[in-house]
């Protein structure tokens, strides 16, 4: 069977030749080096055998008695406890004999290294004072810290992106009618056409070209769409498809790049460019209508009957995000909104 490699690169070593039977899942089959790597000096690590792959995972599953014993005895070098249970699990007996063996690093005061001289200087405590930098946190705490770190980082990235984003909501009905008519047309195609036209009226930087972001190994590749402002929507749709296939990077970063949600992170946003992300239609009650909906609901409750007329129906909307540092982003967004609210203008 064919499996496409996730990354581009140069095939350096084949570990499982063609025709090999019974290749297990997760078993390395080949090694790919990145373009530009010095192949001669690559250090190919021996494939780890199944038995070693579990290593620390057994330490992460601490049974209640084991966890209690570790905390009650302030053991800080949990990773050193040999596990004698099934698949290397640490058992209560392992902790007890570890404590007896003197190999346990007891750290009653996890923060301070300057233990008072009056404290009983047991053989176990002495190595803790001499230990370099921070004492290793026990397995459970380490796991919690790692999880917290990654969610904080993720949140920060979202905040940073939000700072550079201008969003507009556009009623979707008219666009929906047009996109339904032809399968190759999507809201994004119309948005790109709108962007190409808008650039004439609201310049964003030096160039007035548009492009499409095509997924790559590290960051998306930007492919330019030539003459986007003069192409019809159908031709533009075809050009976008071509661009995605060719993957040929633009020589100069276009002014506006059409991307999908999540394709860019704050780190990978191209400098000086504006990224256009078009969301799918969703039903929303605009803030202006929300008051009317609430009134009508209250009236129903009070009068006990359904009151007609005042209730506003939720409208289908599309969210268009314009991500970029350009000072003209706001005006640009307004132009996009104008075009997409009357998409029939884009069909000439």
């Amino acid at each position: 069977m064919d499996v496409e490699a996730q990354d581009d690169g140069v095939l350096v070593k084949i570990l499982a030749p063609e025709g090999t039977q019974n290749v297990s899942v997760n078993q390395p089959i080949a090694i790919i080096a990145e373009e530009g790597d010095d192949i001669g000096s690559i250090d190919i690590a021996a494939p780890t055998s199944e038995n070693h792959s579990t290593d620390n995972s057994a330490h992460d599953q601490l049974s209640p008695a084991v966890s209690f014993a570790i905390h009650a005895n302030h053991i800080s070098n949990v990773a050193d406890i040999p596990g004698s249970g099934p698949k290397g699990r640490i058992l209560k007996g392992d902790v007890l004999s570890f404590l007896k063996s003197g190999k346990a690093v007891i750290n009653k005061d996890a923060v301070s290294h300057t233990a008072p001289a009056a404290a009983p200087a047991t053989a176990a405590a002495a190595p803790a004072k001499k230990a370099s930098p921070a004492p290793s946190a026990d397995a459970e705490t380490a796991f919690l810290v790692r999880s917290l770190e990654s969610s904080v980082l993720r949140h920060l990235a979202e905040l940073e992106l939000a700072k550079k984003t201008t969003s507009v909501q556009i009623p979707a009905e008219k666009l929906a009618k047009l996109t339904k008519a032809n399968k190759s047309l999507s809201e994004s195609v119309f948005a790109l056409r709108a962007a190409a036209l808008a650039l004439h009226q609201v310049p964003l930087g030096k160039t007035s070209t548009v492009g499409v972001a095509v997924d790559g190994s590290k960051a998306p590749t930007v492919v330019e769409i030539a003459n986007a402002a003069t192409l019809s929507v159908l031709d533009l749709a075809a050009a976008i498809k071509e661009a995605a296939k060719s993957g040929k990077a633009a020589e100069q970063t276009p002014a506006v790049i059409l991307a999908t949600e999540g394709q860019y992170t704050p780190q990978t946003l191209p400098a000086g460019a504006t990224v256009l992300v078009v969301g799918k239609p969703y039903a929303a009650v605009s803030t202006a209508d929300a008051g009317a909906v609430l009134d009508s609901a209250l009236n129903e409750l009070i009068s006990g009957s359904a009151s007609a007329g005042k209730a506003a129906k939720p409208t289908a909307l599309i969210n268009v995000s314009i991500i970029g540092d350009s000072p003209a982003a706001g005006a640009f967004a307004g132009k996009i909104k104008g075009f997409l609210s009357n998409p029939e203008l884009l069909t000439f």
């Binding site: 049974s63 209640p64 008695a65 084991v66 209690f68 004698s84 249970g85 099934p86 699990r89 058992l91 209560k92 007996g93 007890l96 004999s97």
Partner: protein
């Protein structure tokens, strides 16, 4: 497509005669015997892609367990328990029923219904997984050839790359007793007695004897259990065996332990059993309407043709077991009651799966240290791992924690509080080495012990695990607390 319509299990004689002349069918794995060991192995082999056949001569699948063992006995134990409760237990619970009558034919019919449902279920599983059921007696002709003497007539020769012998066991006979399954019965007959015997003697106080003795005692029989050893329960924990015997005695069973059985005589429609004290000396004659012979089971290899393939058996008739469940003939493996080890259905099942995994993956595993045993009387008794005597013999220092059900909220509130949980741990590491339970649902509760032991768990691990309240399971938790520290509720 048409192949699926070709009769596989019901072949007419004419078709059979034609087939006898065609070339032998070849299978990757053939399992001989469709008991819990055999049918599980066959299904597993088929699931792992082996072209599989299972040879079974009984008209229904499931072996002894489903047809004349575990399943029918549990149905009768449950229904006889309800009958007994209705007669003796309902009034004090505030339920007034009139005269409670036994409808024995209906009780037996209910048992048959349970059995029928399950055996048909196995048939369905065979079809679902593509296991071909060859109905007949399988005889080895060589290491790779089997001749199946079909129930429908004629025979069929088949070839097999791998063979798994799972022919199980049968009740052991006893010299001086002629089994007719009417007056002198084995467990098979005891499950289908047509009337409640006024007096019943059970020879052999092991699991089967105690269970079936319980059934008929509840249904109205005067039951006496004769056991050669000083204690009942086939080597179970000594403390529990004593408590168990006391409990069953309170229920009306009579016990004659340390008693040897000599022989029997049929006279005037009754059976007279001659017994003698095991240490020699005092003789006695007991009288009964029905005698249940439950002195153990022996491996069944009749008609198997082991000698044709050169497969060796030991002095007790068990097929010799080597590595990877192989016999001395490398492509023939053996599992279950027909070879060594505890004669338990779940042991056979584990071995069946492991043997098939050895065939397909080159690796299989059974953890013989964690195979539970259960006696389905009331109260139930269950145990897994070592008992105190075994640990003493092995010189291992141990600690004991126990907790009585009389101190367990749930047991007390439903007024079913007889028994205790006993946990034995390693004195140094607190690792659970054995668990022994007598009480309501002991058979279910033992699973917690098995799980803890599989993970190398300590008593403290179980004690620090939250158990719902009010449940019997809390007694297990408290016994573990008692083992490593102190119980709260006792």
């Amino acid at each position: 497509m048409l192949r699926s319509f070709a009769p596989k299990t019901r072949t007419s004689s004419l078709w059979q005669a034609i087939r006898a002349y065609s070339s032998a069918k070849e299978f990757d794995t053939v399992v001989i015997g469709a008991g819990p060991g055999g049918y599980v192995a066959a299904i597993k082999a088929a699931q792992l892609g082996q072209k599989t056949a299972c040879i079974e001569k009984r008209e229904t699948l499931g072996g002894t367990c489903l047809n004349v063992g575990c399943i029918p006995s549990k149905a009768m134990l449950h229904n006889s328990h309800l009958y007994h409760e209705a007669q003796h237990g309902f009034a004090k619970r505030g339920i007034d029923v009139g005269e409670v009558k036994l409808n024995l034919p209906q009780l037996l019919a209910d048992k048959e219904k349970a059995v029928g449902g399950l055996t048909k279920g196995i048939e369905f599983l065979f079809k679902k997984n593509g296991v071909e059921w060859l109905k007949g007696v399988g005889t080895l002709k060589s290491a790779n050839d089997i001749e199946v003497t079909l129930n429908a007539g004629g025979s069929e020769a088949i070839k097999a790359k791998n063979i798994i012998i799972a022919t199980g066991s049968e009740p052991s006979p006893f010299p001086g007793f002629e089994i007719d399954e009417k007056q002198i019965v084995t467990s098979t007959g005891a499950l289908s007695l047509e009337s409640v015997p006024k007096k019943m003697i059970v020879i052999g106080g092991g699991v089967i004897g105690l269970e079936l003795g319980s059934v008929w005692s509840r249904l109205g029989s005067e039951v006496t259990v004769v056991e050669y050893m000083p204690a009942i329960g086939a080597g179970m924990d000594a403390e529990l065996a004593k408590a168990f015997q006391r409990s069953l005695s309170k229920q009306g069973l009579k016990f004659k332990t340390s008693t040897k059985v000599i022989d029997s005589v049929k006279k005037d429609g009754k059976v007279l059993v001659n017994v003698e004290s095991a240490k020699g000396g005092k003789k006695d004659t007991l009288e009964a309407d029905v005698v249940l012979l439950s002195v153990g089971r022996r491996p069944y290899t009749e008609g198997l043709g082991l000698e044709n393939a050169g497969v060796k058996t030991d002095s007790r008739g068990r097929v010799e077991l080597g590595n990877e469940f192989r016999t001395n003939v490398s492509n023939i493996r053996v599992i279950g009651d027909v070879t060594v080890g505890p004669m338990l259905a779940h042991k056979a099942e584990e071995e069946g799966i492991a043997a098939v995994e050895y065939i397909t993956n080159g690796h299989g595993h059974v953890n013989y240290d964690v195979i539970p045993s259960v006696i389905y009387t009331h109260p139930e008794v269950a145990w897994v791992g070592k008992n105190e005597q075994q640990l003493k013999d092995e010189g291992i220092k141990y600690k004991v924690g126990s907790f009585p059900f009389s101190a367990n909220s749930r047991a007390k509130t439903i007024d079913d509080a007889e028994g205790l949980v006993k946990i034995i741990t390693d004195a140094e590491t607190d690792r659970i080495l054995g668990a022994h339970i007598m009480g309501p649902n002991a058979g279910e509760m033992i699973a917690e012990a098995c799980l803890a032991m599989e993970y190398g768990g300590s008593a403290e691990d179980v004690a620090r695990t939250c158990h719902a309240h009010p449940t019997m399971a809390e007694a297990f938790k408290e016994a573990c607390m008692s083992a490593y520290s102190k119980a709260i509720h006792a």
